[in-house]
């Protein structure tokens, strides 16, 4: 059977994580192609709904990557995002999708290695978790996840 290729959405802040992703590129560090980055000015912009909708629309995992603690260009965006991620985790547990499908990471602009490592580790984790059960259910309507996948 072909290896499961999860789709992962990464909300990255312009000032740190997105720049770190560019750094990873300029250093030619490999990380899985599964990760698709959406640029935001600050992780403070990423609402719980953005994360939920990414999963509902079909992502297998979502992560938010912002600046290191205390480094936020906008002072507190990353700490607010951290709290929202925790909230979404709980919500996902409650609806049976699993909170481990969302995560918050912090890195500075110069940390290309950290970006690449984070992308790889998260992808691996989601691969182990398997496909987003909501997506499986949607694509196989009319039957319960466990039986059909």
């Amino acid at each position: 059977m072909e290896e499961f290729q999860p789709v992962i959405v990464a909300f990255c802040c312009h000032y740190c994580a997105y720049t770190a992703a560019d750094m990873a590129g300029s250093k030619r560090l490999h990380y899985p192609a599964n990760v698709k980055i959406i640029r935001v000015p600050c992780t403070g912009k990423v609402s719980a709904l953005h994360m939920m909708e990414a999963l509902r629309k079909g992502a297998d995992g979502v992560y938010v990557a912002g600046c290191l603690e205390g480094d936020c260009h906008f002072r507190t965006g990353n700490t607010r995002a951290t709290k929202r991620v925790a909230y979404v985790k709980k919500l996902l547990d409650e609806i049976g999708i699993g909170g481990e499908r969302v995560e918050m990471y912090a890195m500075s602009a110069g940390m290309g290695e950290v970006f690449a490592r984070t992308a790889s580790e998260f992808t691996e984790k989601i691969r182990r978790l398997g496909p987003n059960p909501a997506r499986v259910g949607r694509d196989n309507p009319g039957c319960a996840t466990a039986a059909c996948s």
Binding site: D22, M23, S26, R28, A59, T76
Partner: protein, 1014 residues
Amino acid sequence: MQKRSEFSNKVLIVGGGMGGIRAALDLAEAGRDVVLVDKSYSIGGLMTSLDRTFPTNNCDLCTLSPRLSESGRQLHIELLTMTEVEEVSGDAGNFKANLSSRPRYIDLQKCTACGECHRQFPGCVRFTPGLDHRAPTCMRYPQATPYAFSIDIDACSDVDELVKVCPAGAIIPDDKPRSHEVDAGAIILALGAEITDPGVLDTYGYGVYPNVVTSLEYERILSATGPTGGQLVRPSDGQKPRKVAWIQCAGSRGLRPGFQPYCSSACCMYALKEAMVTRERFLEDIETTIFYMDMRTYGKDYELYLQRAKNQYGVRFVRSRPHSIDPVFKDAVMTGGLDIGYMPYSSNLPAAEEFDMVVLSTGFRVSDETRSLAEKLGVELNDCGYAKTGSFEPVATSKPGIYACGLFEAPKDIPETLVQAGAAACCASADLSPLRVVQEKSENFPPEKDISGEPARVGVFVCDCENNIGGVIDVKSMAAGLKELKDVVVSETIGHGCSRDSLERIQEVIRKENLNRVVIGACSPRTHEAVFQDTLRKAGLNRYMLEIVNLRDQDTWVHTDNPAFAASKAKELMHMGVGAVRMTHPLADHTLPMNKDVLVVGGGVTGMKAALSLADGGFKVFLLERSNRLGGTAGKVRRTLDGQDVQAYLKTMVEKTESHENIQVLKQAVVVDHTGMAGMFKTGVQVGARMVYRQITHGITILATGALVNRPDEMLLGAHDAVMTQLDMDALLEDNPEGAKALRNVVMVQCVGSRVPENPNCSRICCQTAVKNALRLKELNPDATIVILYRDMRTPGMQELYYTKAREKGVVFVPYELEDKPGVVADGKKLSVTFTDPVLGRKVQVSCDCLVLSTGFVADEESTEDLGVIFRLPRTSDGYFLEDHVKLRPVDLPTPGFFVAGAAHSPKNIRDSIAQAQAVASRAQTFLAGDSINMGAAVARVDSNRCAACLICVRACPFGVPFVNAEGHSEIDPAKCHGCGTCASECPAEAIQLMQYEDDLIFAKLDGLFERTA
């Protein structure tokens, strides 16, 4: 006043470190032309090798630098790297400089920094992201860094092969040295300094024992991008150290060979930073000890930093300068351990302690190169090799028209360097022709086409970026496939997308196909957004109808190992881009007309200096003074440390200010209300004894409200005639020298009312003042006994020389602890002072006929609180105004258009106040130069129909911008919005959207991604 040049608009800046860059940006943003010269092949100076910077312990450059690239004013900066100054002739206003550039062997216009040459010929290509990791991220605007490689042609064995590997054809094997001639009205020397060589301190064994490292080496070890990948390991055996020691003043504050006689000023703080970062990352495992003579944490809030290191991080402090470092042996083999031998301050017995690693806090010294350049330019240096400047002209060198800033002027830290850079820019600007209204060096754009009601017509352009993108994925077939997407009218490849030809091609297609939205698959929007936005604008489209898809940095560069994945990801990213671009709508940059008048609050030396600097530049200034006379605290000071007459200086300055045609002085003036935003402020003041109300309209506000001279009820001050403050002593020495001469026993106590829980910070001026007055007393009466009781003597930079002189003259310095303050009792007309002598280890009692208390400053809390409320500005916990960024924007307040200078920022002496006054004048000119201010388009917008006035945005905004207006809904002033989007994501009514990042645009990206995979 220096006569201005009538025609020159250009400044030559030598040195591309932090100081040079700051001065260049200030001048460029004010419409001045700058030639920035650096001998290295990329700019950034010393700071780029630091891991993190105090006191925020952040990678501050990363936090700030994105702002540097926004202005687009770099069009005024010509950067010449690998370039040196050969000769300068002429005078202020009319210099001619001959420069020579070494060959780079790379065409900067063509190099895309793809790295192909470096991969294939690592030995002969200079680009070291490992050691200089911020180069591509932080100094990335194309005219800066520069974002390009350089070739070491001598190291290259096969030049022809090297030329072939470059896909951009950027290598020029026969590149020649070039000489340039530059005409400049003024010159700024930001030459920096070098690090002292610890190898010459023979008893420390640097270079002999591998585990003795310098602080800069230690920074590299800590750095995530350093040689150890951020692992803290000691060089000898790659083991993690358990005990690390710092030795301060390794090369500074010494008279022995190898030592500089002055204090290097920055080392105490960086040692604290290194120790704290070490503890933070490896808390449980690593003990950190700092050996010091005096902890010199005299800057703004630095004392709190020291307390944090002590109390929160458990850094240990030992007051002693170690005499030697010896290796530890076990079975006749060196273990890598190091014994530090020292004499504890409070004991007569020598001590030794073993550490796994020792960091030498090396200081600064002037390089021979700098000395010879100064000589060539006719700039006088002091005995230590730093530029000679005066107390009242802190950045002016001995040669008119040439200014010094940063380490070249004296040892200092980054904020002070940046302040001086601003001051130098201000002075240089004053030598140039009057500031003209900035003619933006940009093309005239055609009028914007109205596309309202039009269906989306999307054009897709895919760049192959030579082989960077096209070499990994098949861009042609991808572009063809994208034609199938909804609303896509044309989809094609464009070769090297950012080349002039390609940009013209995009414009042509936009016009021909009547496109109204564009997606470009290329490199990072971080670097190229502005270029492509301009292209749209030139074709008559709104610049925000654009989506850039990062195919290079985030796809093809990453997935070279799996082209099939790279191709499918590229396609998905493009789908996301097309989905998003369909949701874009025209946005307007927020621009405001600029009112060019300036309000300066505070009529002390700082306020007057700022007012005069701007008034001389042709700007109208309103100078508010609370009392009925100008002069502020300086009115109470007679002499500076170097003996200058403060009152004479002040008198001239007051006369100049009061008679200046561009300055309106309003005395007995109190600010009562304030509205508006940068460029259009309105401030209400009540003036004069009758408190007449008037409203002032202005574009810039400068706060120079000073601080209060402290006079605490301590040690019989005010209760006994023989007890006085240092200011009283200063006046006594000047006004009644006979009376001062008669004093035979004088005791001075430092830190009275400073560095105590009620006023936790260091007042900064007291140590130098005590030394100054002690020297003057000694001059009058060499036989006088003077004892100075201190906690840490804080005489940074060249002030150290006066401290040394005082000790030579026989002034006795005895340290005391906060827990064991000196006791004072009256003894008739005399006083009896009791203190603990740390060497004897017991109480000593002395009798004196005069007790001088160094009482320093306290914040003028009442004023800063009132003004803080009226202007909505933040303050520190002890009541000083809080600047936007302690490290990199020391005189900018967080609200655009507000600046702070002088003692309202933190305690400082006249010299530093003047430098800050000039720096704010320079920063203000960057605003005043334009006729309008561009606030960008990424601002939050409230839909008033949805708003429930719940106040969540008001509470969530990190900058306090939203408020509930008179109509009862939230309002966000686009001029104040920083564009983070926090309010938008917290609004429970979904009433707020952040422009450029609207929710529907983000959801469209997700739809674009999943449409296919579904």
